[in-house]
Amino acid sequence: MWDFIWNDFLVTGEPIIYGAMASIVLATVGIVFVLTYFKLWKWLWDEYLTTVDHKKIGIMYIIAALAMLFRGGVDALMMRTQLALPNMNFLNSVHYNEIFTTHGTVMILFMAMPFIIGLMNVAVPLQIGARDVAFPFLNAFSFWTFFFGAMLFNISFVIGGSPSAGWTSYVPMAGPELSPEINQNYYLLGLQLSGIGTLATGINFLVTILRMRAPGMTLMKMPIFTWSALITSIIIIFAFPILTIALALMTLDRIFGTHFFTLAGEGMPMMWANLFWLWGHPEVYIVILPAFGVFSEVISTFARKQLFGYKAMVYAMCVIAGLSFIVWVHHFFTMGAGAGVNSLFSITTMLIAVPTGIKIFNWLGTMYKGRIRFNVPMLWALAFIPNFTIGGVTGVMLGMASADYQYHNTYFLIAHFHYVLIAGTLFGMFAGLTYWYPKMFGHKMNEKLGKISFWFTVIGFNITFLPQFFLGLMGMPRRTYTIEPEWMPLNLLSTAGAFVLAAGFVIFTFNIYYSARYEPREKTGDAWDGRSLEWATTTPVPHYNFATVPYVNSHEAYWDMKETGATTYDESKLEPIHMPSYKGLPIIMSAIMFIASFGLVWHWFWLAIPGLLGVIICMVIRSFDFDEGYHVPIEEIKRTEEQARGRKE
């Protein structure tokens, strides 16, 4: 028994792991101590863990995303340290494989995804004039399945060992023959668990946006970020079931001995690559389109102009969404599908540059002759345009099948996708967080610290990844754990840049703390002279969002309201507002799913089967729950609004 725990269950034998274990234990003890000492358990349970309020769920998503950004960032620094000089002995090859696998998986699925879903949660219902999302209970469930999926993936670091077959988990490498340990199961079940939540989010936001818009707000009068959320939701709904199946099939291969992707039994390893990228490529657009939406909002607000080419922006996003499903083969041109197939996917890949180019020109057009304010969100948007364009153009280079045989699996590819994912998604999320921060927390983020963190990040980012294009052209392959001497200068430069980039992130995080303590409270509700409905609410936003929902005439609803002097508090139109009750079931049910998945990871059916039964019991409890929520009385609305608005005048 103890032998099993020490040798198999816990990961032992490496100082870094012991350090990680100690820090996890210390952090947990610290959190428990603080919560107990300040008697915060009840507050935490009542206000956050059981919440169905989209604003709080959004905040929890973003906190989780920042924590995961930290974890993925530490992975990145460890990799860069190992690659700084030839023959480094900082990480051994196995450990290096684990680190790059968790870095990729964490950054895409547990950082980028919750960050965009968090911002969607915060902004979309406010932008369309809704009181909450269509299915608030399901929304809480989505968050908790994501949370426990991420936890399941992360505990692999100290319990059982991390997956090490890359975030793409290609077979046969990830299959039962070459990875007989349980590590890979964490990847499969962690992603499966959080994927359920993502699919539910997609359905939830699609229904919310289709059915709960303010009166008068036709589709073409929606704010552009809401449009990006709508299209993202549609991509999620059509892409995530493919991942569900792909993961399930590999789980069957690994735990139940089937032959989908194995070499024995006439399985087809390349089918995994196809299924994975059939989901994986749309996934890339799931994380980039909301960032495009954020940039459109930010550029229009800070250039003090209406968004240039609103309709073209919408159509461009639709075309990108459609194309995203027919380019997946470009991830493995070297599979050998032949010139015909490769040419077709080359063309569809390069076609994506057309709608994306339209968007770039529309952003430039929005800024043209605008009176630009250089606040922090705008700086991120301005940095995004040139850097993302570098990522896009190198993407077209990679998209040419014949040339791709040279770039394939080199650092050229690494540099390319970091230029799109960091300069696109991450800058977009930082811009969005800074932009909506006053709406979420009632104060802005400090501008000066924001600018320092911005410059550290942008400069560090370019020092890190620009050299990697040249390393790739010099032939440095990805996922290598040692470097050749001739690659040293550029690698050393890249590593130095990574630490500058990390400093930028640390300053960003410090800014959250600093601003909470020292920034003046935001009282107007309209922190940036905004143009869409979220700025029409008071700050802090009342839990019912809008006392009365205004009639919307254009995609800049609040801009019109400011001209006519309308507000979201029309006393003559007040009615009791129906709100959903907070529920403990989502977190409990997700926790049980976590336990069941953990059992399955270890092939412990005695744990997995009762866990699954527990999930079914939770579903029955939910089915028999006829709680109708409650109504906020008119007096309470009046009191809340007059307090918030009285302070304003």
Partner: protein, 202 residues
């Protein structure tokens, strides 16, 4: 949008404002399910004929059994339609009776499917035998699992109907499981064609 005011006319399941929301949400969920089953069908198509050392499908597939299963499930879809029709006529008793008939037919289908699987396993074709059989058992098994879930779900709704009567909320739930049940029927038609009919001639 905020009120749970009930309309006095129109189908029962659409009278509260959360009814149409849930029903639209479920339609979208079914779209995701279409993608899910499409992926399984694609997997089956790709792995078709990859028997390895195992018995080929056409030696095991039997028309009478596949036809019986098809018949049971198609009729259950029809009775499910009658159940919703009874709901429109606000006949609680009729609704419950036709739902129970639907359930019985669904259970019959499941019984045949389990018998079929056991039979194949005895003939040496298991989920571990080869790529083809993995794909076959996963595709039909996923459908069977959906039917099983539907049976439990429908049972819960029958209990609610008997205990709480025909309210707009329970009407909405009944309508939604009706959609689910018809969807499973549609998937089965594709399985019957793509798996059994093609499997028997190729």
């Amino acid at each position: 949008m905020s009120e749970h005011a009930e309309l006095k006319t129109g189908p029962l399941e659409y009278r509260r404002e959360d009814g149409p929301l849930t029903i639209l949400g479920f339609w979208i969920f079914l779209a995701a399910e279409v993608v899910l089953f499409s992926t399984l069908f694609a997997t089956y198509a790709v792995l078709f004929g990859r028997y390895g050392e195992a018995t080929p499908a056409h030696e095991l597939f039997e028309m009478p059994m596949a036809l019986t299963m098809t018949f049971l499930l198609l009729v259950s879809s029809f009775t499910c339609g009658i159940a919703v029709h009874m709901m429109r006529k606000e006949s609680l008793k009729g609704l419950v009776i036709w739902l129970i008939i639907t359930l019985a037919l669904g259970l019959g289908f499941l019984g045949f499917e389990i018998y079929e699987f056991v039979h194949y396993v005895h003939e040496g074709a298991t989920i571990q035998s080869s790529a083809f059989w993995s794909a076959f058992f996963t595709l039909t098994g996923t459908h069977g699992l959906h039917v099983t879930l539907g049976v439990f779900w429908c049972t819960a709704i029958i209990i609610q109907l008997i205990r709480f009567g025909l309210t707009p909320v329970i009407a909405r739930k009944t309508f939604v499981i009706g959609l689910y049940w018809h969807f499973l029927d549609v998937v089965w038609i594709f399985i019957f064609t793509a798996v059994y009919l093609i499997g028997m001639v190729v």
